[in-house]
Symmetry: C2
Subunit: 147 residues, 2 copies
């Protein structure tokens, strides 16, 4: 079995380099890899800390630590859930919302780096292929949980 | 700027679902996400704990914790570096080597899931595109460090 030429391995390399590159580009914001949480909150609106953790497949401890740091820096607030007083809902603050364009720009920059030398058609194809793969992954996950 | 259709985001989704799926498939080995370390040691041979941490872009604490768990389970051993007595070199044990085919099979299974519905040509194209992206990422990283 040849693991040298592996889709999983490339995805893993791209994920790790990307995370490190984007975090470095955003160093002045003092959020580390926290941009992942801010982008998720931006897209999903206010969600609970537990949902955030499940959604990002990160353990609760890592999520709690990251959320605490982002809260201390003023990028988000946590509010006790009115229906479940043990749960927290998390929201972007105006300061959090303010940095979204910077994060998006760092992401676009990174995407330009990894698609450098690609034709426009190849970039489009890359998006299509990755979209299909992500859909397969998400659909399988749902089936998996239903069984 | 549209972040909805983002290469980075799909890679991130694929990475997270993949990690979670493969770890679940390997649950009986009691290694969690440790398969990532075992596969890296398998490909790279014995390397130092610090190199492992740099290579995987994981912080030293996370690496140390994972290595400790894998050592306790008997999958790897750490030896003090003869040239630098503060450093550890890490090696797979025969037990560690034994589980590599199981990990590879879980990885191939995952790759089949995310490429389900793809033609053979599309699978090939996916590998090519991801390979080129990973190369771009690695090359940029090197240039970045040289400056």
């Amino acid at each position: 079995m040849n693991e040298e030429f592996s889709i999983r391995r490339y995805i893993s390399i791209l994920y790790r380099y990307g995370k490190s590159h984007i975090a470095k580009r955003l160093e002045s914001l003092n959020i580390g890899s926290g941009y992942i949480f801010l982008m998720t909150l931006y897209r999903q609106g206010g969600i609970s800390q537990e949902e955030l953790s499940n959604f990002l497949k990160m353990d609760k401890g890592t999520t709690a630590k990251a959320i605490k740091k982002l809260e201390d820096e003023g990028y988000l607030i946590r509010e006790i859930d009115v229906n479940d007083r043990r749960a927290y809902n998390v929201f972007l603050t105006p300061k959090g919302l303010d940095v979204i364009p910077k994060i998006q720009s760092a992401i676009k920059d990174w995407e330009r780096i990894i698609t450098s030398g690609f034709t426009e058609e190849e970039v489009y194809m890359s998006e299509q292929i990755l979209y299909k793969m992500a859909e397969n992954a998400a659909n399988f996950k749902v089936e998996d949980e239903e069984n």
